[in-house]
Symmetry: C2
Subunit: 101 residues, 2 copies
Amino acid sequence: MTSEEAKKPTERSKADRDTIFIGKKPPMSYVLAVITQFSEGTNPVHVKARGRSISTAVDVAELIKNKFLKDVKASVGIATEVIEAERGKMNVSTIDITLSK
Amino acid sequence: MTSEEAKKPTERSKADRDTIFIGKKPPMSYVLAVITQFSEGTNPVHVKARGRSISTAVDVAELIKNKFLKDVKASVGIATEVIEAERGKMNVSTIDITLSK
């Protein structure tokens, strides 16, 4: 194993820790994941979602700000990603909520 | 009718024109409403939504930016509103996307 190969997994797992991807679980499981990241010293924490999960991402950010970590500020970016679907390329909206203390 | 009474409807309809509230129609009907507002000189135009409609609001903003009015910039705010539901007060997440040329 070269030193470059040895480095890659660490870099990837750091990016994973910085970002909580929102899926179809209940909002509170993502809230818990965000709180865990902050408690481990990660700052800022990104909450990212695509398509219909975008509204859950906003719910998670609002729960964090208003109930659990009241010193957290949110800044929001929106964008479009092109994904490969069965019927060809599709545009999907994305949100990236940066939560920082 | 006093002059104050005469003024109120105008003020209200101005605020209405500045803001497109996203509901359950297809995204393109809201895209058309935003384009109409810009063409009538409204700037910025706010795209607002609550709850599950938040992802449609992001779709509308992204369609405007990427397909229809490429000189438009979006800035995004999120918040929580308390609404009166049948079973008491409920928190609902909201989004306010400010589209400006």
